[in-house]
């Protein structure tokens, strides 16, 4: 496989992580706590889409190898994740009225509840969307790039969502209010911004993106009750790498972590090809840079970046 091939794989995987990490960072910046239920919010989106797709079916035509029905399912997945997150905020996080550590611990419990509910309804086995898997696009195979139309659909949809969020944050009233609130919630409140309403919208957007990420993760891999939670550690790494609380940082961090994860085989090829001296160092590097440590390598790079920029890629000089 060529570098291009690994880069293409990395792009697909990054798209999913970016969708997850934006929501996590957004909620952190405005609701002010690290939401451990975020991964399971992704799972909810995926399963809601699974049920919807099962109910509506393909609906005739298809775009990029995906039936029309799947896009309806995607929307339902986004909406379902948003509704569940807003409901949780309204009925649990808001009435609790505790500090951010308390909320963090609560969110771990919420994550277990989400997962248990999904397990009760769907069992603990894995499953897939009833969509015929595709073979790689023939015209790209000579370049060593083996991606399917589904992969292109994942990347394309992620780009649309990310650009949409960018437009929302930069050019709309709600976006300005959200940024104001992220900067200084008290000042935002005395300037007449209805902070509670903005907070709810933040949950809608963050959870909606997570739901979309979950649906794509299901399409890319498979659905299982632990799918989101298993990805959560990587997503947290992406958010911290980008600078927690920064949406654009989360995009960059998610992209980088996904890329590193998928580029590990390439790194190990490079290490093998390089004339490293002395020999023991070469052997050590060869045994360490190998795919079973893909996540560990991503975390080492994260630590290295944080040593240079303690607040992450997009973090400000002082917090």
């Amino acid at each position: 496989m060529t570098v291009l091939g690994y880069l293409a794989n990395g792009l697909v995987f990054s798209s999913i992580i970016v969708l997850g990490s934006i929501g996590l960072s957004l909620v952190y910046s405005i609701a002010d706590f690290a939401n451990f239920a975020h991964g399971d919010t992704m799972t909810i989106g995926a399963y809601a889409a699974l049920v919807t797709f099962g109910a509506v079916g393909g609906l005739g035509g298809a775009v990029l190898g995906l039936p029309y029905g799947f896009f309806i399912a995607l929307v339902v997945g986004i909406v379902a994740a948003a509704i569940v997150a807003v409901g949780t905020e309204k009925f649990i996080y808001e009435p609790l009225d505790i500090d951010s550590i308390g909320l963090l611990i609560t969110s771990i419990g919420i994550a277990f509840i989400y997962r248990a509910l999904i397990q009760i309804r769907f069992g603990s086995d894995f499953t897939r969307f009833d969509i015929q898997p595709l073979r790689p696009i023939e015209s790209l195979v000579p370049f060593g790039v083996r991606v399917t139309l589904h992969d292109i659909a994942i990347v394309g949809s992620a780009v649309v969502l990310v650009v949409g969020l960018h437009v929302l944050l930069q050019y709309t009233d709600l976006g300005r209010k959200m940024r104001a609130m992220a900067d200084n919630p008290d000042l935002a409140r005395v300037s007449g911004i209805r902070t509670k309403r903005v907070k709810l919208w933040t949950w809608v957007i963050g959870a909606g993106l997570a739901g979309a990420g979950g649906v794509f993760l299901g399409l890319f891999n498979q659905l299982s009750p632990r799918m989101g939670f298993n990805l959560l550690l990587v997503i947290f790494a992406a958010v911290i790498l980008g600078g927690i609380g920064s949406v654009y940082g989360a995009m960059a961090g998610g992209f980088l972590i996904g890329m590193i994860n998928q580029l590990t085989p390439f790194f190990s090829d490079v290490v093998e090809a390089l004339p490293i001296w002395p020999g023991w160092l070469a052997r050590l590097l060869e045994s360490l840079i190998s795919i079973e440590y893909a996540n560990a390598i991503a975390f080492v790079i994260m630590v290295a970046v944080l040593l240079v920029r303690p607040n992450g890629i997009a973090g400000e000089a002082s917090s």
Binding site: G123, S124, Q132, P265, E292
Partner: protein
């Protein structure tokens, strides 16, 4: 003010009155209950048996007394044994199969009873992880005080439980589904499913017979995957050109698949679990890679067939520990299982079934319900000596007629059992080939 005071008095009076009335009503209730209690034996009886339950939990010797007496059987609570199962986590498919098998076995045991008492199984979830398994076993052994523990599914989990909870105690541990090789090194840890070493040998022979002199292997990064792979590498005559572990429950295995493809081998061997394997197949399919697939038993299952594209694994060969499906007792088990659950049983359900029957027989044959006594009988009731019987009812009858543990040789639905000195059973293997996206048995191999 005065008005308020009056109100207050009124309220007080009212409260007094209500309180008095309430007391009268309550006392009425009390006396009624007493009368009723004296009148109906039923409620007294149940109180009595509750007391017995408490005694059983507190002290195994009390259970023994009842056992020896043989007459007070009806009033005794059930014999409680423990089971650690993968109800959730990556091995939950095995856990579900185990639960069906164990439930059926429990039904059959309790139709007959053990010296007039019932058997009950306290099931705890291991979450398919070592830590969860240890916590579950600690709860069962240290809090519930079970002398017999069935568990666990994953070999790593079984070993972790044995080393941190069971070793050094008298408690009997019988793993229902572990096939990891290192369990053989722990004679105190029994298992119902045959060791994976036989699988590794069979796979190396099959791959060599099919004419491949190069193979790429990927295995799940735990004790099970590592030990099976090591045994395979030792046994295989050709060259292992790629040999790399992967972690469980990752969201992408495309690196593994592309490295296997770059290795140039035409035969790919997967020693991993169903969910991981299904992901790899899908990624190989959508990357357009072609190879002859081989797999250990843990990669086979309906969920793999349901979640991989039609035709993507045709021709794949898998070696699975197999129940003796031509034997009469297995066929009887299979048809009963099918009418109960509407599906064919797997070997994994059969192993769990035999675990429960074996446990029940060892309890009946033992002098007392303690770990030390069960250690004495657990191997002997299904060992090669004694009259061969194929059901709990028949075996129980011999024991009830005064037979000792050596007078019975329970032949399980999963095989003859016959634990050897390492605690491993005699088993045999079936070679499956995927044809038209379904598993077809093509051969049997002695284990």
């Amino acid at each position: 003010m005065s008005r308020d005071a009056t109100d207050l008095t009124d309220r007080r009076t009212l409260l007094k009155l209500t309180g008095g009335a309430g007391l009268v009503t309550l006392s009425g209730c009390l006396s009624t209950t007493d009368d009723g209690g004296d009148g109906s034996d039923g409620s007294d009886g149940s109180d009595g048996s509750d007391g017995d339950d408490g005694m059983d939990g507190g002290d195994g010797d009390d259970g023994m007394d009842g056992d020896d007496g043989d007459d007070g059987g009806d009033s005794m609570g059930p014999y409680e044994i423990g089971m650690v199962d993968s109800l959730t986590g990556s091995l939950s498919a095995f856990g579900e199969r185990n639960q069906r098998g164990a439930e059926m076995a429990l039904g059959r045991v309790n139709e007959v009873g053990i010296d007039g008492r019932e058997l009950s199984i306290a099931v705890e979830d291991s979450e398919s992880e070592n830590q969860g398994g240890i916590a579950a076993a600690q709860k069962l052994v240290n809090q519930d005080g079970v002398p017999f523990l069935i568990g666990a599914v994953g070999s790593g989990v079984s070993l972790a439980i044995y080393e941190s909870v069971i070793e050094g105690t008298d408690v009997v541990q019988l793993s229902q589904n572990s096939t990891g090789l290192s369990l053989t090194n722990f004679p105190g840890l029994l298992r119902m499913s045959p060791s994976g070493r036989s699988q590794s040998l069979a796979l190396s022979n099959i791959i060599a017979e099919d004419g491949y002199d190069e193979v790429a292997v990927t295995y799940v990064n735990n004790d099970y995957g590592q030990s099976l792979t090591d045994a395979f590498v030792n046994a295989y005559d050709g060259e292992v050109v790629y040999n790399s572990p992967h972690d469980q429950e990752q969201q992408s295995y495309s690196s593994v698949i592309s490295e296997m493809n770059s290795s140039g081998a035409d035969a790919w061997l997967f020693i991993t679990y169903q969910a991981e394997f299904a992901t790899m197949v899908n990624e190989a399919f959508s990357s357009g890679y072609e190879a002859q697939f081989y797999g250990a038993d843990s990669v086979s299952g309906d969920s793999v067939l349901e979640n991989t594209p039609e035709g993507s694994i045709n021709g794949m060969k898998i070696v699975v520990p197999s129940a003796p499906i031509e034997e009469e007792n297995y066929q009887e088990f299979a048809s009963a299982f099918e009418s109960e659950y509407g599906r064919q049983p797997t070997s994994w359900a059969a192993y769990a079934y035999d675990c429960v029957i074996n446990a029940a027989l060892s309890i009946q044959a033992a002098d007392e319900f303690t770990g030390a006594a069960l250690q004495e009988t657990v191997r002997r009731v299904s060992g090669p000596e004694g009259e061969k019987v194929t059901s709990f009812a028949a075996a129980s009858e011999i024991l009830a007629d005064g037979g000792g543990p050596d007078d019975v040789d329970y032949q399980g639905v999963s095989g003859p059992i016959d634990f050897n000195e390492d605690g491993d059973p005699v088993g045999f293997l079936q070679v499956l080939e995927v044809q038209d996206h379904a598993y077809e048995g093509i051969d049997f191999v002695e284990g």
